[in-house]
């Protein structure tokens, strides 16, 4: 037994790769095989409550700062948040500080429009702006002079012609800012250059790897909660799903009752992540047992 454990310490990495691959693949292909309850994290609850407190006609600025590599983690939370906002009749303004941001925003909006859940019109209920180079400086400009940098929307229509742009001059004219972040510029820059100096509520959804950097801002209240990676996205998706179903029963005028409300993608991916994490813990225990016996032997 001891010999076997020592041998396992130098197991071929390809076997580990294979097992990890299977642990992810099987729950994705057969989601019914692994069904686990989802506990809602406190930070996700704070985000949900903050968005829920918004009223019909409030203005929310969304910033898309992720791309292809981080799409599986961040995109589901963007779709869930858009559903939540449109279900409350909130006006949505989308900016992008990453070159891929506009494509991500377009994909998210397409998903919302294709769901047919909301009767939204571009230019009236939501507006998109193109990518602007400059990172944190763009954030600073949005904070001071929004119209100074955004002269036209994504479709090339002058913002003076857009009904939705009436009364929007700086970040202070928004009731809430939400940042989808996968790097720099990201939520830290929004805190430092715009929302904290101008006292505008800010929240963020980011990749798991970024959470440790963002958590001091959450603890200080500069970020109203955080959607942390895929688990955060899954938790938020679940809360929005329950909320939308409840609102349909309450005859919410912004939701099309005849359409089916879907759960979202992150929720389905959590089982795969659970099994993969369990397997990693198992590997760590195995590796340490092997290390212990190896040292004893040596």
């Amino acid at each position: 037994m001891k010999e076997l454990l020592v041998k396992l310490g130098s197991i071929d990495r390809r076997i580990i790769f294979l097992l990890i691959g299977l642990s992810v693949l099987i729950p994705l292909i057969k989601p019914n095989w692994v069904q686990l309850p989802l506990k809602i994290d406190n930070n996700t609850k704070v985000v949900f409550d903050s968005i829920s407190s918004l009223k019909d006609g409030d203005k929310v600025l969304l910033s898309f700062e992720y791309g292809a590599s981080t799409k599986p983690e961040v995109h589901p939370m963007a779709v869930a948040l858009l559903k939540h906002l449109f279900s409350k009749g909130v006006k949505v303004y989308i900016v992008s500080l990453w070159p891929e941001g506009p494509i991500m925003a377009t994909l998210a909006m397409e998903e919302i429009i294709d769901s047919n859940l909301f009767s939204i019109i571009e230019g009236k209920d939501y507006v998109m702006f193109d990518y602007k180079v400059g990172g944190s400086i763009v954030i600073k400009n949005i904070a001071d002079d929004f119209r100074g940098i955004y002269k036209q929307d994504y479709n090339g229509i002058s913002i003076d012609e857009l009904d939705i742009m009436k009364g929007v001059y700086s970040v202070e004219d928004f009731d809430f800012v939400f940042d989808f972040s996968a790097g720099v510029p990201g939520n830290a820059e929004w805190v430092q250059y715009a929302c904290d100096p101008k006292n505008v509520s800010l929240s963020s959804g980011c990749t798991s790897i970024m959470v440790t950097d963002a958590i001091p801002y959450v603890e200080s209240g500069q970020l109203k909660g955080i959607l942390a990676g895929m688990p955060g996205a899954a938790e938020y998706e679940k809360m929005v799903y329950d909320f939308l179903n409840e609102e349909v029963e309450n005859q919410n005028k912004f939701i099309n009752k005849n359409e089916v409300i879907s759960k979202g993608k992150a929720f389905a991916r959590m089982s795969a992540q659970s099994v993969a994490h369990l397997l990693m813990v198992f590997f760590i225990i195995l590796g340490n047992l092997s290390y212990y016996f190896e040292r004893k032997k040596g």
Binding site: P37, K39, S69, T106, K124, G134, N141, D163, I215, Y291
Partner: protein, 354 residues
């Protein structure tokens, strides 16, 4: 030489002092400069810098291929990707965006993507194209009519259908597509650039990121070892975070958490107890006592927060992780102050290529 070195330093110092002064002097013109003009200058310069970056990338990889430096073969793929995306972005537009506007029944009313009038005189997907005033002219987007009173879809004899000559029948097949512009081609679903992004770059990007899972698993198997106290702490907090952030963490029972606590405690005091029999018997006894206490306090019905893995994970993130992050952030901020001071006073010249 003066322009390259001294002049560059003078500009750098002057701009540094000006930007800094804007935050300390209550002088409206200066404030206007630091708040509005300087950031806009920065954005313009950053735009050019991005262009220079592309040129630099090109130069670097061409040099690598020409001189056949180490791993020069990979540079071919970089250059190939670079040029392919340039061609699709600027030159080859690909399929026009989807032949969206079709006169499906030759009635000179142009419907959106095969969506027919279902009897409500509204001709498009999502009810967007509406004959507002019954003149047989179908307007694009309701808000558009509000602002522009746009008689958008007008069948003129020249085959050009819309205001602004935007929608033209490019190939005479009776399908009317928006005129493609440089910026439009990047945003249109049917374009080659969009296709390349959606079906090549997007899956490749996600794949690269997903590969991390395999490397993390392999690395944690080999590197996450109980070598000393610090490594043990790192390992335990890592495991708790891994389990606490996923649904499986919430179904781990309270007695396993007691077992983890007891194991952690005995791992710390292991070096103090020489006799193995005493060590293992006290370890087992502690576990049994812990579980008995649990049943006595009915933790099997409602476990306290300190025995729930997700709650422990939340605590780790909120207290030790926050403390560590703040320390790092303060350190970085002090470093930035020192570095900025060196740049502003002209001592730091590495940015000039020194």
């Amino acid at each position: 030489m003066f322009m390259k070195r001294q002049f560059a330093i003078i500009v750098m110092m002057a701009m540094g002092f000006l930007a800094l002064a804007g935050y300390f002097l209550n002088f409206p013109t200066l404030r206007e400069f630091t708040d509005k003009d300087a950031p806009q200058w920065y954005m313009i310069i950053a735009g050019f810098a991005a262009f220079l970056g592309c040129l630099n990338l090109l130069q670097l990889h061409i040099q690598k291929v020409v001189s056949q430096q180490k791993n020069w073969q990979y540079s071919i793929f970089t250059l190939l990707g670079f040029f392919v995306m340039i061609v699709f972005g600027f030159i080859y537009k690909g399929v026009n965006p989807g032949d969206d506007y079709i006169d499906a029944n030759n009635n000179y009313k142009y419907d959106y993507a095969e969506v027919e009038d279902v009897g409500n005189e509204i001709y498009d997907k999502y009810e967007s194209f509406e004959d507002k005033n019954g003149n047989g002219v179908y307007d694009e987007w309701k808000w558009y009519t509000f602002w522009k009173s746009a008689e958008v879809f007008i069948d003129e004899p020249d085959g050009i259908l819309l205001s602004g000559e935007e929608y033209t029948d490019n190939n005479g097949d009776g399908k009317f597509t928006p005129e493609m512009r440089w910026s439009t081609v990047l945003k249109s679903e049917g374009s080659a650039f969009y296709w390349m992004y959606n079906y090549v770059y997007l899956p490749l990007g996600s794949t690269m990121f997903a590969l991390l899972a395999f490397f993390v698993a392999s690395a944690s198997y080999r590197a996450f070892r109980i070598r000393n106290f610090e490594a043990t702490l790192l390992l335990i907090s890592g495991v708790l975070l891994m389990l606490g952030r996923v649904p499986v963490g919430s179904i781990i029972p309270w007695w396993i958490v007691i077992f983890i606590y007891v194991s952690l405690f005995f791992a710390i005091i292991a070096s103090k107890i020489k006799d193995k029999k005493i060590f293992f018997s006290s370890y087992l006894l502690s576990n049994v006592i812990g579980i008995c206490i649990g049943f006595q306090f009915k933790w099997n019905i409602l476990a306290p927060k300190f025995l729930s893995i997700p709650n422990i994970q939340e605590w780790i993130m909120a207290v030790p992780a926050t403390a560590g992050s703040r320390a790092i952030m303060i350190g970085i901020a002090l470093g930035i102050v020192a570095q900025s001071f060196r740049i502003i006073t002209g001592r730091e010249r590495s940015i000039l290529g020194d």
